[in-house]
């Protein structure tokens, strides 16, 4: 079949429709990210083989592709001589699609031209930056650094990393982790972003361990640790801007920490005391802070995903109305389990269709309580769904703080530039129990846990890097751990000693103003407490 395509406004070129296998058809109309299209189709434009004379068009996005490639039927078909073919070309509405005469059902493995989505990584388990495809000696060995960067000098570190690993030059150049802040961070009283990231990952680990134990001792009712996922929190938190709203699931406390939530504030929430911003209403770990632009956690899984689309839509309209203002995105976090909820599907489909600037961040930690991912989905993880929604996506090593940071920073830029969602799937491992109500030894091998934590613990990995740079040694790490442990204990004791919230907080905030029936019900309760001499304030 002959067809003419108008590409990039150039002269119409003659193209010859390839005899399509179903596999290729599918590829042509799947909404694969453009880079895959360009790369994997070997120069096929929307499934059409280009004429050898015409330069290959640069295809940037699927939408552009749609606009620029107009299929014109050969004269024969136009005249209606080949009615069947003509009707086929329009049978899906306005969009032209390639035709195949080969009956072939597409198998899942045929669908993914990339095979399994690769995991983007910068720093490997030994704390070295290595190109995955280059095992060549000397390529990335940190120990062969001739002149180590001056102790704690971030700018020097950045430039030496750039010259040492040109492959990652762009990532290093734009990494906020490698840039000192203008003012001291209040919690570290230093401007060193990377060292703060390192310290906060340790702080989060310590806080989790101590509060987990506090629950075991009966001092708080519940807790969930983020053991093994610290690089996700800190890596992504440091790549976001303050105006970006965070909608999290529950295992993302490090993001709030990065934004400045103090250990005291975490403990006040977990101990449900009078200083808890949530007024003692929610179970521990359901943090939230308007000041830090972090929406309050709710237990029902997935619900935050569709909400993030709404928030991002607001930002999109704000940006249109106020182009000078710094643009914002919404970022929504969810687990591999929550990705099975109805809200995940609605959220992705809404975001891609309505083109909302946002990031869908999946923490794939291998488990949803006891359910391993093999019982959760049959496809290639979560990220393989992104093209189906017409969404860009990247899979990243969730235990590599530099890679997570780079992926989020890049996704953020893309989301704003295209006003569209981007999906990130961060591969990690939940090395703790699901929560204090869970004993994971009942459904997974302790060897499995040990193997995962020994090999790829995110804190150990960053430790190794810093040690390789000569910025840390065992005793320096140990003393950070010690300081953070003491700080958490102090915050916890302070929070535990405080009174519970006042009874008012039970009836307020149901509505903006207390309606008459709640006034009556509160009075009733107070009378009851008085009658039975039950103390409360």
């Amino acid at each position: 079949m002959q067809a003419t395509a108008v590409v990039n406004g150039r002269e119409p070129m003659t193209v010859v429709a390839r005899s399509f296998s179903v596999k290729n058809d599918y590829r042509a109309y799947s909404s694969m990210p453009p880079h895959h299209l360009a790369r994997k189709n070997n120069g096929l434009v929307n499934g059409l083989v280009k004429s050898t004379k015409v330069p290959r068009p640069i295809v940037k996005s699927r939408n552009q592709l749609k606009e620029r490639v107009t299929l014109v039927l050969p004269d024969k078909a136009k005249e209606g001589a080949d009615e069947e073919q003509q009707s086929h070309l329009t049978y899906v509405g306005n969009e032209s699609m390639p035709i195949t005469t080969e009956l072939k059902i597409v198998l899942p493995e045929d669908d993914v031209p990339r095979g399994t989505w690769p995991v983007f990584r910068m720093m490997d388990e030994s704390g070295r930056f290595r190109r995955s495809d280059a095992a060549a000696p000397g390529n990335s060995d940190a120990s062969t650094f001739n002149n180590l960067p001056e102790m704690y000098d971030l700018s020097q570190l950045r430039s030496s990393l750039i010259s040492r690993h040109p492959h990652f030059a762009a990532e290093f150049e734009s990494s906020e982790l490698l840039r000192p802040s203008r003012n001291d961070y209040p919690d570290t009283r230093s401007t060193n972003t990377l060292l703060r990231a390192h310290r906060q990952m340790i702080r989060l680990r310590k806080m989790d361990t101590i509060l987990h134990n506090a629950q075991r001792q009966g001092r708080i009712s519940f807790y969930m640790t983020a053991h093994g996922e610290e690089a996700i929190h800190i890596g992504s938190g440091s790549a976001l801007k303050r105006q970006d709203v965070i909608l999290a699931q529950y295992r993302e406390a490090g993001l709030l920490m990065w934004r400045g939530f103090t250990l005291e504030q975490f403990c006040n929430q977990c101990f449900s005391n009078d200083l808890d911003l949530g007024k003692g209403r929610q179970m521990p770990v359901h943090y939230g802070s308007r000041a830090l632009n972090y929406q309050t956690i709710s237990s029902p899984l997935g619900t935050q995903i569709t909400q993030a689309v709404g928030a991002a839509y607001k930002f999109k309209l704000d940006a249109l109305a106020n182009p000078e203002k710094e643009a914002a995105i919404a970022i929504v976090y969810f687990g591999d389990g929550a990705a099975s909820t109805v809200d995940f599907h609605s959220g992705c489909n809404f975001a891609a269709t309505l083109k909302t600037p946002m990031i869908f961040f999946c923490r794939n930690n291998g488990y949803a309580i006891s359910t391993p991912v093999k019982d959760q989905y049959a496809g290639d993880g979560i990220i393989s769904r992104a093209p189906g929604y017409g969404m860009a996506g990247i899979r990243v090593d969730g235990n590599d703080v530099f890679a997570v940071h780079a992926a989020v920073a890049e996704a953020r830029k893309l989301a704003l530039r295209t006003s569209a969602p981007v999906m990130i799937e961060a591969m990690t491992y939940r090395s703790g129990h699901h929560s204090t109500s869970d004993d994971s030894s009942r459904y997974r091998d302790t060897d499995e846990v040990r193997r995962a934590t020994d090999v790829s613990d995110p804190i150990v990995r960053l430790d190794r890097f810093l040690k390789g740079m000569g910025w840390m040694d065992d005793s320096a790490v140990a003393s950070i751990e010690d300081e953070e442990r003491v700080a958490v204990l102090r915050a916890m004791e302070g929070a535990e000693a405080r009174p519970k919230p006042r009874l008012d907080a039970m009836f307020t905030d149901v509505y903006h103003e207390k309606p008459p029936h709640l006034v009556r019900q509160e009075e009733e309760l107070r009378l009851h407490l008085k009658r039975h001499s039950i103390p409360y304030h």
């Binding site: 029902p300 109805v342 609605s346």
Partner: protein
């Protein structure tokens, strides 16, 4: 409107349409403005042509479904508020004074809803309208011409997912915007229940008042329509009313709908706004062109009386109004109360009325068991125990799904309500 669109899409559309238009109480100008140019692709079953009297007779059936002309969805004035006893009604705080609101237009319910949304969008640049098929005006035409005035970014279609619509509304409001979202039919609100019950309703409380989604208004058409059957007839107000944190509103006619919807959109709490779809075209009223709000949480005494208190909401008010007329002929003076807001409901208004009349009837279309009437009754027996002169009556839908051909039997109509009035009057003889 359903009838009309069905007629329009039939082969004899011209004559059927003009016949319907002749019956339409709208003025000519209005008619031109509000009628869509193309037949509506309504996802509703067509008019029950198959139940012709001949078919029914040949099958030996003892009853026949009501003929078209008898059906309730013909345009009809519903000017409750200009009743003779207007001056005797107790004043309601913050209620608009319609006499001072300036010029009015004759609007039906959908045009009144449209007018409210237009007013809200003009006064609030962050207000957006979205939902399934909302862009072209909505299957009930409530959002017609909004896209032309406010543009694609503020009036748009969403993919077909009710939980997505509700979730998006919550998120948009959480970022400070005003979300006016539409669920195409109340029968399809259930996929959105998680977002309504667990998210929308608890957003403020769970954050300690740091975050809220008060900017949400979820509009949805509800109730019987003549041929809606199981899935185009339901009134889910009781499910919703069991949820602390949301406001549930149902207007009884165009004028009150505009004021209530404007309050709902501007309310600092999330509102589910139920629109009785039977009234979209059939209820016609003089509606102020002005921007006015009717307070939420306040019932309205639609007519004053001394013998029996009758409580209802939404389209049921029309039935109850007719019932009151029938009762008046029997010498019974009824006090008719429209709750308007179902959650939080105005128990004070009902209690003080029942203390006066000593008798109460609650009537709603939704099924009897655990219907919102049960809540009214429970409160009233506690507050008015010594004032009651007769057992409280509930005149409601049956505890069955809403069967297509049985609608006329299912509905708590005038006769059933009149019987209830006679029953309670017997007690005080």
């Amino acid at each position: 409107m359903i009838l009309r669109s069905a007629a329009m899409s039939s082969s004899s559309s011209r004559s059927a349409l003009s016949a319907l238009l002749r019956r339409n109480a709208l003025g000519r100008r209005q008619r031109r403005r509000h009628l869509p140019a193309v037949p509506l692709p309504l996802p509703l079953p067509l008019v029950l042509r198959s139940h012709s009297s001949a078919a029914a007779a040949s099958s030996g059936s003892a009853w026949q479904p009501r003929r078209l002309e008898e059906r309730r969805d013909r345009p009809r004035d519903c000017d409750y508020d200009h009743d003779h006893d207007r001056d005797r009604r107790p004043p309601i705080a913050d209620e608009p004074d319609y006499d001072t609101l300036g010029p009015t237009s004759r609007l039906n319910l959908f045009t009144a809803i449209n007018s409210a949304m237009r007013t809200a969008m003009r006064t609030d640049p962050s207000a957006i309208v979205f939902g399934e098929d909302v862009g072209f005006g909505g299957v009930f035409r409530c959002s017609q011409d909004l896209l032309e005035e406010f543009g694609r970014d503020r009036v748009f279609n969403t993919p077909l997912s009710e939980n997505g619509i509700a979730g998006m509304a919550v998120g948009y409001a959480s970022a400070g915007g005003t979300a006016i979202a539409e669920i195409q039919f109340a029968d399809y609100i259930f996929p959105a229940f998680d977002q309504i019950v667990n998210e929308m309703a608890k957003f403020r409380f769970r954050s300690g008042n740091q975050w809220n989604c008060g900017g949400v208004t979820l509009r949805t058409p509800c109730g019987a329509v003549g041929h809606g059957a199981l899935y185009h007839s339901q009134s889910p107000e009781a499910y919703l009313a069991h949820t602390p944190g949301i406001v549930v509103v149902m207007p009884r006619g165009p004028r009150c709908a505009k004021g209530l919807l404007l309050s709902s959109i501007r309310s600092k709490d999330p509102v589910v706004f139920l629109e009785p779809k039977i009234l979209y075209r059939s209820a016609v009223e003089e509606v102020p062109d002005a921007d006015y709000e009717i307070p939420l949480g306040k019932a309205e005494i639609v007519r004053t009386g001394s013998d029996v208190t009758i409580v209802g909401w939404g389209a049921q008010l029309r039935t109850l109004q007719a019932t009151c007329d029938l009762a008046a002929r029997e010498g019974v003076s009824c006090e008719l109360i429209d709750l308007r807001t179902i959650l939080p409901w105005d128990s004070e208004c009902v209690v003080s009325s029942v203390r006066k009349t000593g008798k109460l009837i609650v009537s709603h279309e939704a099924p009897l068991t655990c219907g919102f009437g049960a809540e009214v009754v429970a409160t009233l027996q506690q507050e008015c125990f010594f004032h009651l002169e007769a057992p409280i009556q509930r005149v409601c839908g049956y505890d069955t799904p809403f069967g297509l051909v049985f609608e006329q039997f299912y509905l708590p109509d005038e006769k059933k309500n009149l019987d209830a009035i006679r029953r309670v009057m017997d007690y005080s003889k």
